[in-house]
Symmetry: C2
Subunit: 286 residues, 2 copies
């Protein structure tokens, strides 16, 4: 099975470390979530994977070969960038018809079908697209590239709820047909949680989780109730976040099994966080 391996990747911009010794593996046939706050290093990682930028140290290997200035490897990796890399005067249809010069397995028919499904006029120039359609155009280019590794960076930015639902359905369909690896970087964690088999979590440039999506969610629980009772219950446990409203308190506890309701003091309630609630707790500052 084809595999991308990221080894000890570090990227510094002057005194700022954007990415700090990140190692992870991405296999064909899986959908990954790349999660973290704005500024955590997600886009830097994507730029390094796609050779748009060079690491300070470390390497990205595709089936054992370094991707650095390696055209053969790079033709198998298609990253949808957050920034606009194509000239604005190009029409959507011109991008689609010229993509095959770089991605030889480009499926132009599929790209045109996607344009129709999303109601994107292929004759429009890139510079004339709204925020939502600019995102949709970039998603269509990446998904129809025929690459084995498809990296979608914020594919929901500016999309309305109908288009987001359509997008999730299309990603699953395309994944089932092609078995490409999909890496999806997004802030809409709960909406996308059902797509992810595995998630990578970045925090201030460091990889703080590389785990099965369900296992990660089950690795923590929420406990809520009167402040004094919650505080006595969480004493000595690993607490990710704790917030108080009036005499009421809520805490997110990491590690250990969810206590059974019988084992809890009266008035306390435990529940499983959603992936988004857990991510907020894991990546909160301070």
């Amino acid at each position: 099975m084809s595999m991308m391996e990221i080894r000890s990747l570090t990227k510094r911009y002057g005194s700022k470390t954007a990415l700090d010794d990140v190692s992870l593996k991405i296999a064909k046939g899986s959908i990954y979530g790349l999660l973290g706050r704005n500024g955590a290093g997600k886009t830097t990682l994507v730029s390094l994977i796609s050779n748009r930028d060079f690491p300070t140290s470390g390497e990205v290997l595709l089936d054992g070969a370094n991707v650095k200035e390696n055209d053969r490897a790079l033709k198998n990796i298609c990253c949808m960038g957050a920034e606009q890399l194509l000239p604005g005067y190009m029409r959507v249809k011109d991008v689609i018809s010229s993509m095959r010069y770089f991605y030889k397995n480009t499926d132009a028919e599929y790209a045109n079908a996607l344009c129709e499904k999303f109601g994107l006029d292929p004759k429009k120039r890139l510079s004339r697209l709204s925020t939502g359609y600019r995102t949709i155009a970039k998603v269509i280019f990446a998904m129809s590239s025929g690459a084995d590794y498809i990296i979608l960076d914020e594919p929901t930015l500016g999309l309305d709820a109908n288009h987001r639902e359509l997008l999730y359905k299309l990603i699953i369909e395309r994944f089932n047909e092609t078995e490409a690896a999909f890496v999806i970087s997004t802030h809409l964690i709960d909406e996308c949680a059902g797509l992810f088999e595995r998630v990578f979590v970045l925090r201030e440039g460091r990889l703080i989780a590389d785990e099965d999506s369900d296992a990660l969610r089950r690795s923590a629980y929420l406990v809520e109730g009167k402040t004094a009772e919650v505080d006595s219950f969480i004493a000595g446990k690993k607490v990710l976040t704790r917030s108080e409203v009036g005499s009421f308190c809520s805490a997110c506890v990491s590690g250990g099994d969810v206590p059974s309701p019988d084992a809890l003091p009266d008035g306390l309630e435990v529940s499983q966080p959603t992936l988004q609630q857990l991510l907020i707790a894991m990546t909160e500052e301070g």
Copy 2:
């Protein structure tokens, strides 16, 4: 109680009708959701309310007075625009300190406190902000304007989950303190649903719902099961959407009470949609 009244507002751009005979009322002391797909007319409505653009016909009244070129009325309405209206070389702190020339009740102290909470450096120039921080800056300007009518257009665009949670909390706090009317236009319907007392739904320029948020959600139900059974159950009912996967079918039915499980044929399940599911069904094309 102060009240904004929108009367038969229509806006045409050439042959395209962006807003078609829309009438609604916005009262101080309530939070409204302004919902609809991209292109449904939400931003056009916001531009007309704030006198950034003129209606083809109809009018916007604030406490009985037309807002058109009415400085006194307009100083009480603050719209966060989707587009960037301020020059990019301005620093965040300069915008904050000059706002009081237009919005005399501007609360600069509150604006600075919000910058700190969101981690926005007030010395940054607007043109140097990322997508998320550009949104945050515009939200801060609107929320600290001291206006009685605060209109937030896509206040979550580009925000990470932590910042979105903070934003929802701050909106509720500020609403409780000021009793300003908040109108929030967003595509993240489920996340914001808890904020809305009432929602306006636009579809292709027309207002198709102006209703209490909970009542709207309870006005429809989902029915799921084997296709033949679902189809026989929904025959003669008002069906908003119907989708099939294999031999399984799901439909959203509008109007009438949710049938009790006892009254259902075996194998069918009914449930209440989330506000977002309902909105997708109400605004789907075709």
